[in-house]
Chain length 384, copies 2
């Protein structure tokens, strides 16, 4: 195993989850997924496809029907996008890896806005790039982007800027003005933007309604921009491993090759499920987002009421990110919470040193009562 | 898109297939898959899993049950292998990409035995390695490994030797003596072997019966050896994207990380299909191999009888690789065969310059009569 792989930290979230192995009494909120099963109408599409015998190799870039459906969906939310700009991938993380392979080679400079899901910074490292971390800044419980710091960090030597908004774990979400400022700057430096926007439909902001601000609202079709998406969060399809990339048209042939060399294609029966999801997206996704808002609202005031907790309302995403006074070691705290309170949270350190001292709570749940029970366990633990 | 990606050749097989778009009269034998649907008992396992709601994230390295089943399967064919040495991957090609990421970095030297499926040489190129091609040698229609040339090509500077046996496209298959010579040499140079053995069960040799010789027959558990496998060929599961890697135990944690950063996991319902396949492997695979032998035997004598054709019996795999006298440009010939004979074959040049002048015919078919009809079309074309 190459040293660079050995040096990548293992998942601290899994380390906490492993500490709970064999215990059925732990309320787990550590992973970024709901406990709700994929809707029937999506599963049924896959079952029909299997029954019809769709078990063969398929197009590298995805079924034309699915690419068209994703293009229509994207165009309905943002500026118009053609199917030629859509590449179907074997999950969102796979889409990110393909984006990195397309852009990043040995010695390239990459800037990542952090704290962030660790996969985003591990991928360029695997490909031999140098990753500079640009920290969001916590003000009370809320996180903010320092645009001046970003303009200083992203130079003509910067090959790629990686940014995830709505952000996992902090909930920070780009404003339109910040978006425009970042794109304007990256145009001057010639820097590619890889934007992980998988949480765009889980957005609690007012004016935009049911979709977070996106680079795709205003970027030109040939801007140096790759937007990465997934069916996982908006359609309760975490286990299906289906995602997509929106790219400039000129990259279509390159992504076909990269997909061939990475996974060749997504299973057709999984893509049929994606087509079914797209066909009923507006009947399903806003309702899910509304239920997730209720989850957030069940949890947030209970955390905010705890005197030692610092927390703010997330703009989007599935997570509440908070800190507990006097608790600097988030991994140790998360393990104690499992052992002593039966509460499973993700340690902020899993998202980089910038998240140290914080905890991430995934509030996606079928039953908001689970969140209430979890908050009570935390309260009892803190009163110990 | 990075220049190195732009420079990778697109698939010449797809180029031929694209030339047939919109034509329903072409008998296609260009892709490496059967026209037979995945068996019912395998599809049913996936359907059951979906009905039970197994739509969530799963273990990076695969369900423990599947890893155990693959370990038992491997141990029944070769030397004993523990489940800790098995990593479940999102297809065979994904397994190969993970193997390359584990071993190969910028500037590393890689030797690949060719002609070969082009993905095997594209992957290290994407990662910045230098790839040296070591050619099998054609003697009449048969291909042979030059062991002396291999010993010269693989030096202490060689990080990885890539070898695919039974070989796609030539049908060449390692003998046990060759296997041992190669491993012995690589031990002295400290070179890792990445062995693509996905066709091991499609083997027509006598003594070994229903499994081709494998490095796993005699290698030590901690040899520098990664063996890559797939459910695609042995179980008619091309479209499912499920494979695995057999590695030394010490690489387990590293592969868990790499899988996390590439696709995170294979879908659970796809893994359930894999478990079902493994449970009935010996009731299914030998029968499939026998039917494929009948396919080969339907095709081969008909090709051999054509005066301008040079061909030999493949030792294993799904392909007959042959050349036509006076036809040096395999891509042009393959396109003419589509246009003028309604016959779809893969051009040898798709597998590197060493395959130029040859054609690959995938003989995996439900109905051997399709092969007979195809051979008649070729015969008619050559008599033109």
């Amino acid at each position: 195993m190459r040293q660079i792989i050995e040096d990548l930290p293992g998942s601290k979230i899994r380390e906490v989850a492993n500490a709970a192995l064999g215990r059925s009494d732990v309320l787990a909120f550590w992973f970024g997924e709901s406990d709700e099963t994929t809707p029937d109408f999506i599963r049924e599409a896959a079952v029909r496809s299997l029954a019809e015998g769709e078990t063969f190799y398929s197009h590298n870039l995805g079924l034309p029907e699915l690419r068209e459906a994703i293009a229509r969906y994207t165009s309905s939310l943002h500026r118009p996008v053609s199917a030629a700009r859509i590449a179907v991938t074997s999950s969102g993380v796979n889409a990110l890896m393909l984006a990195m392979q397309a852009l990043v080679g040995p010695g390239d400079e990459v800037v990542a806005v952090v704290p962030v899901w660790p996969n985003l910074t591990a991928q360029p490292a695997i490909l031999g790039a140098r990753v500079t971390r640009l920290a969001l800044r916590a003000e009370g419980g809320a996180w903010r982007l320092d645009l001046d710091a970003l303009r200083k960090a992203v130079t003509p030597q910067t090959r790629v800027l990686i940014v995830n908004s709505p952000n996992n774990p902090t909930g920070w979400t780009f404003t339109r003005a910040e978006h425009e400022a970042v794109l304007t700057h990256c145009r001057t430096t010639g820097t590619w933007i890889v934007a992980d926007e998988v949480y765009e439909r889980i957005y609690f902001g007012g004016a935009q309604g049911i979709c977070a601000p996106s680079f795709l609202d205003f970027a030109e079709p040939d801007d140096r921009l790759l937007v990465v998406h997934s069916f996982s969060k908006s359609f309760l399809m975490t286990g299906w491993r289906l995602g997509w990339i929106v790219s400039p048209r000129a990259l279509e042939a390159g992504f076909a090759k990269l997909i061939e060399f990475n996974t060749s294609c997504a299973p057709v029966f999984v893509q049929r499920a994606g087509i079914a999801a797209m066909a009923r997206s507006e009947a399903f996704v806003p309702g899910l987002a509304q239920r997730l808002r209720l989850c957030r609202d069940a949890l947030l005031p209970r955390l905010a009421a705890l005197p030692s907790v610092t927390v703010a309302e997330p703009d989007g995403g599935l997570y509440v990110f908070f800190r507990v006074q006097g608790q600097a070691d988030s991994l140790a705290l998360a393990k104690r919470l499992v052992a002593e309170a039966g509460l499973g949270l993700a340690p902020g350190a899993a998202f980089g040193s910038e998240g140290e001292g914080w905890l991430r709570w995934c509030f996606a749940s079928r039953d908001p009562e689970r969140l209430v029970e979890g908050a009570e366990r935390l309260a009892a633990f803190l009163r110990l």
